[in-house]
Amino acid sequence: MRIRTQFIIAMILFGVMLIIVSASLIITNGQVGRLSKQEEVAHGLERDASDLGYLSNDYLLYRESQQHTRCESKFSTFSSDLSKLGSDSPEQEAIVNKMRENLRRWQAVFEEVAATLSGESQLWDVSAAQAFIQVAWSRMAVQSQGLVFDAMRLTELLRNQKDRLRERHILLIVTFLVIFGAYFIANYAIVYRRTLKSLSDLHAGTQIIGSGNLDYVIQAKYRDEIGELSHAFNKMTANLKGVTASKADLEREMAQRRKAEEALRKSRDELEMRVQERTAELEQRARQLSLLASELTLAEERERRRLAGILHDNLQQLLAAAKMRIEVLSDSVGTEQKSKAENILGLIQESLKVSRSLTAELSPPLLQLGGLSAALKWLGRWMGEMHGLKVDLSVDSLLDPKREDYSVLLFQSVRELLFNVVKHAGVASARVDMRKDEEGQHRIVVSDHGIGLDLEAVWNNANTGTGFGLFSIRERMMLIGGRLEVESKPGMGASFSLILPSESTEMLEAKAPEIKGSTAKTVVGPSPAPDKRDKIRVMLVDDHELVREGLSTLIGNNPDIEIVGELSDGEEAVRSAREILPDVILMDINMPKMNGLEATRTIHSEFPHIRIICLSMYEDNDLLSAAFNSGASAFLTKSGSSDTLLSAIRGQADYGFSDSEQQ
């Protein structure tokens, strides 16, 4: 039976019991009240019976009419009261009937006696009257005593009935209470056996299950709510078992995964180690490669410079020497030969021009002679002349790197960036700024307003080697500790910043001041007047012997000019100048040990009156400016005409001013 059903039954029983007890109480109270009233009537009958006995005796003794009347009145009262008694029980009915019968007899005896007394008493003598009275009294006394006794019995009966009724009522209540208590006890026993025991079993079962024994099955003894709960527990346990099995599988799988992850982690660590090793190796190789690239760059530059040197030191010098010889020769031959000689000179001049251009392209001599800023200026002009790109320059020679390799690397990088502008930007102008930024870093910014770059694509392409050479530039910058920053958007132009490492930005403080302007005109300042001499004492300084011989031959044919010394480098020139004190020095710029500019600066500082004419294979205003800044009085190219050279010598010797606009 379900606990709910038990509860409902208990409540119904309790309700029924309450109804029965209440009804019993109401009914019993009514019955008790009615019995109490009847008991009062019975008490009255007791008094009436006694009164009847008293009154009948009184009448017997005195035979007066009032006694007779009282007896009849009492008899009526008695009869009336007796008629009020019900017949609630057979006993009561029997007694009442008995009393009615006795009353009837008493009445009969009384009337008989009364009739006798009223009719014949006067005839009796005393003894007869006394006997009659005694008999009559006995007869009436028997009846009246019977009435009294029956009335008392009736009273007692009613009292007993009332008591029994109360007892029965109490018994009924007690019985119901006992029954209900018994039911509750039985119910409790059932509940204990069926519910509490089941709950206990369920609790024990849950503890067993809770301890981990998922094979334990809770026995459901009854088909009630606890039985359903037990089934639910068993089902849950079965599910839990399945889940636990799945969990075990999952844990195994997780363990395997952990192992796999551990193995993977080891592999990854190993891989990372290998990667690190490889990375380190690659970095090492990258460094090596960078070094190699750097070396390659330097080697390239060296090779460029070597080739340029070869061109300059050999071919151009030879050509220059040849030109000088032919010029000398043409002066000594006839017109026809002279014309041929001039044709040859034209070819030599053209060769020199081509050679110079090739030399400048291989390695601008200004980079070595004038520093990065001078080289960049040359590059700007060169890009305009060669590729039609207008380059706006904003450079400061004070910011030039000290290290030559840095200057070479930056120059090449700027040149490549400008080439990219020419090739990809779609514009005809660019800007190069060399400056010091807010962080104190020195940077060279190459910018344009062209079509811009897709940086991601550029760098991806850069990794594949097709990124405008940016990768190479970046690598080279990183190699020297600097970096390359690129800012660009499609259609918004591009800006490439070459940022030098701070320790590498030590500037060329001691470098000569920046050349102001790039004019070709040179003004030779006044110098102390030399002593008046017959010949102009000229000292030749050139590391190329053929050039010296050519110059010597060219100049030596002139009687007013005397070659007082021929030297092959700057240091010798300085020493010889101190000894010889020539009037004019023809100073080649490119020389070993000490170049012509340094030697010029030294000699000019010591002997300002010595006129120094710088000679070079290059036609460059910056170089010209550098020469003048070093103290040169004139600057001539070796490919120039001999007349120009001789005029310059004579002009310097005559202390005049020479407006040489050398090309």
């Binding site: 029997a94 008995k98 006798t116 006997a131 006995s138 007869r139 009846q143 019977g146």
Partner: protein
């Protein structure tokens, strides 16, 4: 010993033990059922005794009552005094009579009140009125209450008992006596009175002779027996109480029981039932009645005693008080 003999060895003693146990138990039961020989007249006045017997109230109270019938209360009291019975049913008058003889007996209880005694007089003997009874031969059971009632009846009607001739006619012979004409009239009680009423309806004149005074059907025992067997009396009276309760609650069934015992027909049974009251009691009216009867005996010189006996000495109250105290109301 073979298995068969072993089995017999076990079974036979068991059977014997069982038989002995049953026999002993029967003896014990028989001994515990106390026997009471009860003397009664063949009348419905002892209805409670018959009901108690038929309903097993005696057995329930561990007594076994054997009813011995006698024609009159004089006979039952005589048997009582002789020890033939332990308890006798009688009207109160035999005890009054025995009290003058100083017999050691006592009324245990009154079982009923009866008013069933009639005087039948043959009309052919010229008896139409009570006054016609003078010098007539009237048969009565002598020394019974009938004699008292008849004397009182005659006295109240102006006739002395000495004016009539009394012949001893026991109730069972009353019909024959009056029919045969050996007497002019007869006083008898039920069921004989109803038979005469029925069979001699036109031939006799009937008068109730009890003068509205009920007779008491009492049960009497010897004092020595009472003192020896108070518990037995208590059980007997308890049986009577149960019978009274049964009679009150089952009047029809009670009538049927009594009818079968005394061979009454239905019509007579109703008459008898209305003329009798069946109720256990010991009340003052009984004392008054006996004293009245005793005075009558003295006055009529039916006894040599001049003093009315103290009938309180002839009442044993304790038995009835033990089982139905509310029924005892004796003034002492």
């Amino acid at each position: 010993m073979s298995p068969k003999s072993t089995k017999q060895f076990i079974i036979l003693p068991s059977i014997m033990a069982g038989v002995l146990a049953v026999a002993f138990g029967s003896l014990v039961c028989r001994k515990s059922m106390e026997g009471i020989p009860f003397g009664a007249i063949p009348s419905g006045s002892a209805a409670l005794v018959y009901i108690a017997q038929d309903e097993g109230f005696f057995s329930a109270n561990s007594i076994r009552v054997k009813v011995k019938e006698y024609p009159t209360g004089v006979g039952t009291t005589g048997a009582l005094l002789k020890g033939a019975v332990d308890i006798a049913w009688a009207a109160e008058f035999p005890l009054v009579h025995r009290a003058f003889a100083n017999e050691k007996i006592s009324i245990i209880a009154a079982l009923s009140r009866f008013s069933d005694q009639y005087l039948f007089a043959r009309k052919d003997r010229g008896i139409r009125n009570i006054s016609d009874l003078k010098a007539k031969k009237i048969g009565i059971p002598r020394n019974t209450i009938v004699e008292f009632y008849l004397a009182r009846f005659l006295e109240l009607n102006g006739i002395s008992i000495e004016d009539v001739s009394l012949l001893n006619v026991l109730p069972p012979q009353s019909m024959d006596a009056i029919t045969s004409g050996s007497i002019d009239g007869v006083v008898t009680w039920e069921p004989y009175s109803s038979r005469i009423k029925t069979q001699l309806a036109g031939e006799v004149t009937a008068w109730p002779v009890q003068n509205f005074q009920p007779g008491y059907g009492v049960i009497i025992a010897r004092n020595d027996w009472i003192s020896e067997h108070p518990e037995r009396i208590r059980r007997f009276l308890k049986s009577m109480v149960q019978a009274e309760d049964y009679l009150i609650r089952h009047p029809e069934a009670s009538k049927n029981m009594v009818k079968k015992r005394v061979n009454y027909d239905d019509a007579f049974m109703e008459i008898f039932w209305s003329e009798n009251q069946f109720s256990l009691s010991l009340d003052q009216s009984l004392i008054l009645a006996m004293e009245d009867e005793a005075r009558w005996m003295i006055r009529n010189k039916l006894t040599n005693e001049k003093q009315v006996p103290d009938f309180l000495n002839y009442i044993y109250e304790d038995g009835l008080k033990a089982v139905k105290p509310e029924s005892v109301n004796i003034i002492r």
